[in-house]
Symmetry: C2
Subunit: 400 residues, 2 copies
């Protein structure tokens, strides 16, 4: 008799993801496929100093077991980081450190989702979120979005209909959508949270990666303006896109009761996040290098986003439709079929690979009813010249 696996695994379908990753390994390829920041922009010197400093200053703290809630000096730095971004009154004990923001999502699933519970997500949304929540038995409902983020009227109707355990949103420069939820919609969503007493999970790994003016404040920051809404926001932050994904340092801010239970679940998931990584991140934040690091990544990604937008218009014209992103790492586009061009993004991806350029089709990002003409292009890891070359190859694939 072979080993019997847990029934929860039946809820997860990862073949689409495996198919995506098979596309990425070919040598010589220009990749717009990853969701990675550019390794070349990591502040290696700053992190080396930070890690040496952590080991010199408090080797016990950096190498010993630590509190499940997180390394206290890092919690202090992260609370200050959030206050600096306009979240009033955040204290260290209002947040826990997580092993990347992926773990914050996992803990929310573990803490909140009983099998069969409804959870509303954006359509499209982050791939790993879909699978993460489904492993806890969530029944996902998909709320449509446009360039201003989730459509609030539709969201309200879905909340009424499904009474979900929570609503999961990436309001600022979403993955894969790149969309930016407008200020007006943010206010309306906070009002909905209070009205329907529904938890809103705000995943915010990209909010610091803006190219022009700063985006509207996070839902968490805005919650001060909507009485009663603060307790209905769970906010997930991350160092991955701005400093280094390899540290696996994220955080979760939520009301005390939820935070306590998420901490209990974390205790039995991985005891605590690497104190070595946490102490390094704390030293880095304390060193004062973060503002320059943020300026640098914003400047470089802004150039690349501009180059990709220009090239897409030039090379693909009206065969592709997209909104120029104002931050983040991604273009979200739709094949229009104009002039008889291809409309199936899966087929387009296969042709593109033959031309030496990779991206990911959009369908797997939908929990339900995929738009097969959609695709995601990352501008993060290729430089401007490679972006131009890659988009040229996309143009050839479209015509070829």
């Amino acid at each position: 008799m072979p080993l019997q696996f847990a029934s929860r695994l039946d809820n997860v379908e990862t073949s689409a993801i495996r198919e995506l990753f098979k596309l990425l390994g070919k040598p010589g390829i220009i990749s717009f496929a990853g969701g990675f920041p550019d390794s070349a922009m990591f502040d290696v010197d700053g992190l080396r100093e930070a890690s040496a400093g952590a080991l010199a200053e408090e080797p016990g703290g950096a190498l010993q077991y630590g509190a499940t809630e997180g390394y206290e000096p890092l919690r202090t730095q992260l609370a200050a980081f959030e206050r600096h971004k306009g979240v009033a009154g955040v204290e260290p004990h209002h947040l826990i450190v997580t092993t990347g923001s992926q773990q914050a999502l996992d803990l929310l699933g573990k803490t909140l989702v009983s099998p069969g519970d409804k959870v509303i997500v954006e359509g499209p949304t982050f791939l790993a979120t879909i699978q993460c929540f489904r492993l806890y038995g969530a029944d996902l409902v998909s709320a449509p979005i446009d360039a201003d983020g989730v459509q609030v009227d539709r969201l309200e109707a879905l909340i009424r209909e499904h009474r979900p355990k929570f609503v999961y949103l990436i309001p600022t420069f979403g993955n894969p959508s790149g969309a930016l939820l407008s200020l007006e919609r943010r206010r309306r969503i906070l009002a909905l949270a209070v009205q329907y007493q529904v938890l809103i999970v705000e995943d915010d790994p990209y909010g610091d990666l803006y190219f022009g003016a700063a985006p509207p404040p996070s839902l968490l920051a805005l919650s001060d303006q909507v009485p009663g809404s603060r307790e209905w926001i769970a906010h997930c932050g991350s160092m991955s896109k701005v400093l280094s994904p390899g540290l696996r340092v994220g955080w979760l801010i939520a009301q005390p009761d939820l935070l306590a239970r998420a901490t209990m679940c974390k205790q039995f998931s991985d005891a605590h996040t690497s104190t070595f990584a946490q102490a390094t991140a704390a030293q880095y934040l304390r060193s004062g290098r973060m503002p320059a690091t943020l300026e640098n990544v914003r400047r470089v990604y802004a150039e690349r986003a501009q180059a990709m937008g220009d090239a897409l218009q030039r090379e693909l014209g009206d065969a592709i439709a997209f909104t120029q992103p104002q931050g983040g790492l991604f273009f979200w586009a739709r094949l229009t079929g104009a002039g008889g061009a291809i409309r199936d993004a899966g087929e387009f991806a296969r042709r593109a690979i033959e031309q030496g350029v990779a991206f990911v089709p959009g369908a797997p990002f939908y929990a339900k009813d995929p738009d097969r003409s959609s695709l995601r292009l990352s501008f993060a890891t290729a430089d401007v010249a490679r972006i131009r070359e890659g988009v040229q190859r996309l143009g050839q694939s479209l015509r070829g």
Copy 2:
């Protein structure tokens, strides 16, 4: 309406653990309560060099997203580490790196346990394992142990009766028991695994911490001698007790199908273990410092274990019964009540705290039917003089 939490949280009772931790914070106290290695023995210089080396050699690898299975140079080092300990034929792709061995347990629970499934554990066993498996809905069955580890006849009867999803054992210097499973019992357990086609989870964080002769080979290593048993062993390893818990580097070796599903679950739990910590651990193992580090911790813990055993006999006499541990971090003892002395370990712990010494009562380590006369004493973090002083205080508490 307050937030509704997931039903799986109803299976977990953590007040006993919270009570334990409340005991630990008092100033001036001599603590035998922790499950920690001694920070003073961390090879800080070696780890500083290893982390600087990792950042110098391959900063991208150490700071970027990495494969969920683990950082390849670390998998290579860990496979060699296991082969060196007698596990024939282990290749890097036979293991995945986990965020401490706690995460290996969590992934096994997530991958294997459907609500209501039976899981056999030792009575007593590791606290966090009990809660970890219960969060996935496991119905735990407790198999009795003695100084030679789990009693195999009783284990076989429980396997027949309950047909468990798996059996969880800490065969070598168990926590809390300090027990060492005999070679003969190891062979019989491997035979049971084949006969009943039941998975044995071998948790092995302490196997390298032996004081005299090396212990019998791990179940994984011995599986070569019992045809068909290898596929029924899942082995959890850890750097926490020998190098540094703060790195959060553990690993899981299991048959390919189970390993693939555990990897999938890990992808949605934390994406991957900190590559910064993994690259540091890989450099450290490659540096050749590990054998000297192991010799050092073995020597120091052996002295402390001897000092504690001698002091317990001297100060508590026949009011306490224990087997001198041959490795690990713990004494497991029982209050005999001889001469009218106290028999309740919880009451003894409260009196001891008043005398300025802490330990943990044994009851919470039982999934079922706790032995309230049992207690766990760690000799890891106090030096020999403090151990003698602490045990003297225990004697006063007993008489007081």
